[in-house]
């Protein structure tokens, strides 16, 4: 049981050793000729502007959360739709209840103005 993991373990060891070895060798014996171009964050990319720790409007989080909620709803819809005939009327009722519960939440969101951007 445990022995069967041995190849994976060996591979992990090889990966770690190889990574550390190559990086160390690069630092030790590689030539170092620093130019202004080379020291930029992305040598051939877009110039970074400003700090990374910028404030992001809380509205984005709200939209992201609401998106996830209704995304999850669809996740539940798929397996139900596949076996729609087997579950029959009881399955339909369960799904309608589920959708109605989310609809109540949606109603709440709209009424509280969570979807108004300004």
């Amino acid at each position: 049981m445990i022995e069967s993991y041995l190849p994976i373990f060996a591979q992990i060891v090889v990966a770690i050793v190889l990574g550390v070895l190559l990086s160390t060798l690069g630092v030790l014996i590689g030539p170092k000729r620093k130019t202004a171009q080379k020291l930029t964050t992305y040598e051939s990319g877009i110039e970074p502007v400003g700090a990374a720790k910028e404030r992001v409007s809380v509205k984005y989080y709200l939209v992201a959360m609401l998106f996830i909620v209704f995304d999850i709803e669809v996740v539940f819809m798929y397996p139900w739709a596949v076996s729609f005939r087997e579950y029959g009327i009881a399955g339909l009722l369960s799904m309608v209840t589920f959708a109605l519960l989310l609809l109540a939440g949606y109603f709440y969101i709209i009424k509280k103005g969570a979807l108004e951007w300004d």
């Binding site: 519960l101 109540a104 939440g105 109603f107 709440y108 709209i110 009424k111 509280k112």
Partner: protein
């Protein structure tokens, strides 16, 4: 199938009512109205549980186990929710956070508690726990402009998520060891085979998750900070309803594996040690607290320890004692937190010495607070004494006399910090101007105090109900599947 709906009617009604509250709040946005409807909902669900008390059985593909025990627990949760909602209004108004959502979230939390107590399957156990906990994290951070409230919510959330992770990992290991998620089927699987190491590790993690929620030592560090920073009524809710729910689930799990646990000296030793440590640490830490909310937080740790003595005893008497204890504790602790919430304003009146001379200004309020404090200390004619007596007596019967003795000594220590509040209220002269509070709330507290006294003087009827409730709960294998 129709029987399923009848059995789980209180839970279904509670879930439906929470949706109703959401729609109501969305349409009218009036916190006072939502509050009234939340109280009506608690009364309705509690009433349904009273009516449905004798019903028992497994419902919805053996996902829920409903019996007298669950109904009794539901009544405690609804009582806790009802009292907290009733006592919250002034505090929330003072802090400018009187939103209708507060009541909705509290209601959803109660639905989670009911699911937790009624879980017959570990999936439901987890869903119930999370539903309760996530709602409590929101309540802890309700005062979003207040740094301390934010800190409380963050701490509670991070540590709570960690504990939930442990619990979920435990569930997955138990599933790995036995191949079952339904509790009674796991018990059968364990009986036919022997409990493997994997099962024991999983079981330990599962119990750890519960011990975190009841704030047992060594998983108690979050308690004082969270109770201190949260809105005071929310802290009252966490320390009573959530604790009662975690204990109900603990009793359900422990009784389910009773044959296994009775033959395990390690289990008895571990849970007794945790009970002992919880009582000692909670009481000694409470001695040093000047801030009343922190004092009550450590006192709630200590009370978790007393209740754990009943789990350690592992007899029906012990469990019935815990049920009675949670009922009394719900009343007296919400009373104590409620008085604190009523008197505290912004940053003032947080220390025990601030209550000096309260009796002169507000005799009824001071009298009620004295009853709660004495009952928490376990002074004989009051409800708290009967609760402690029941769990300690069960421990003595289970040959854990040393544990009962330690519990009695620990409550003797606790008398110091409870009586200190009483001393300030009655023996000292008032300093500064009179503490103002609406007169109607004094009456509400007096009623709760009367209930605490009545539970102490006439406990027999309630104890008869808890005994009967417990009989209905124990249906691990004989339900005929």
């Amino acid at each position: 199938m129709p029987n399923d709906y009848l059995l789980s009617l209180p839970i279904l009604a509670a879930a439906g009512w929470s949706v109703l509250l959401i729609i109501l709040e969305a349409m009218l946005s009036r916190a006072a109205l939502t509050r009234v409807f939340a109280m009506l909902g608690f009364a309705l669900v509690g009433g349904l549980s009273v009516i449905g008390f004798p019903l028992q059985g497994l419902a919805f593909s053996e996902m829920l186990r409903i019996g007298g025990f669950q109904h009794f627990a539901n009544i405690i949760f609804c009582l806790s929710g009802l009292l907290v909602v009733a006592l919250s209004e002034k505090y929330l108004d003072d802090e400018n956070v009187h939103y209708g959502e507060y009541y909705i979230v509290a209601f959803i939390s109660v639905v989670g508690m009911m699911l937790l107590a009624a879980a017959a399957n570990m999936a439901i156990l987890f869903i119930g726990l999370e539903m309760m906990s996530i709602a409590l994290y929101v309540l802890a951070g309700l005062m979003r402009r207040d740094v301390r409230s934010n800190e409380a919510a963050m701490k509670y959330f991070l540590l709570g998520a960690f504990a939930s992770g442990l619990l979920l990992y435990g569930i997955s290991l138990i599933y790995g060891a036995t191949g079952e998620l339904a509790l009674h089927k796991i018990a059968i699987a364990i009986q036919t085979g022997s409990a493997s190491m994997l099962f024991w590790i999983g079981f330990g993690l599962l119990i750890t998750g519960f011990l975190f929620k009841i704030s047992a030592v060594p998983f108690h560090q979050w308690t004082p900070d969270v109770y201190d920073g949260s809105p005071t009524p929310a802290a009252a809710f966490m320390s009573t309803g959530a604790k009662a729910a975690a204990f109900s689930a603990l009793i359900v799990v422990v009784t389910n594996f009773s044959t296994l646990l009775q033959n395990s000296p390690t289990w008895s030793l571990v849970i007794s040690s945790i009970a002992l440590a919880t009582m000692v640490v909670g009481n000694i830490a409470a001695l040093a607290q000047e801030n009343l909310k922190r004092m009550l937080a450590y006192s709630s740790v200590a009370h978790a320890g007393y209740m754990l003595v009943g789990i350690a005893a592992a007899t029906p008497d012990g469990y019935s004692g815990i049920m009675f204890y949670t009922l009394v504790y719900t009343l007296m602790n919400i009373g104590a937190f409620g008085v604190v919430a009523l008197l505290e304003s912004k940053e003032n009146l947080l220390l025990a010495s601030d209550y000096a001379g309260l009796f002169k200004h507000r005799p009824m309020l001071a009298g009620a607070m004295a009853v709660f404090m004495l009952s928490l200390a376990g002074v004989p004619p009051l409800g708290g004494f009967i609760g402690k007596y029941k769990v300690f007596a069960a421990a003595v019967d289970a040959k854990l006399t040393w544990l009962a003795l330690a519990g009695v000594l620990a409550s003797a220590v606790s008398a110091y910090y409870y009586l200190r509040v009483v001393y300030f209220m009655f023996m000292r002269d008032p300093v500064g101007e009179a503490i103002s509070a609406p007169a109607t709330s004094s009456l509400a507290f007096a009623l709760i105090a009367v209930a605490v006294v009545l539970l102490g003087v006439f406990p027999t009827e309630i104890l008869r109900i808890t005994d009967a409730a417990l009989k209905f709960a124990q249906l691990p294998t004989q339900t005929g599947f």
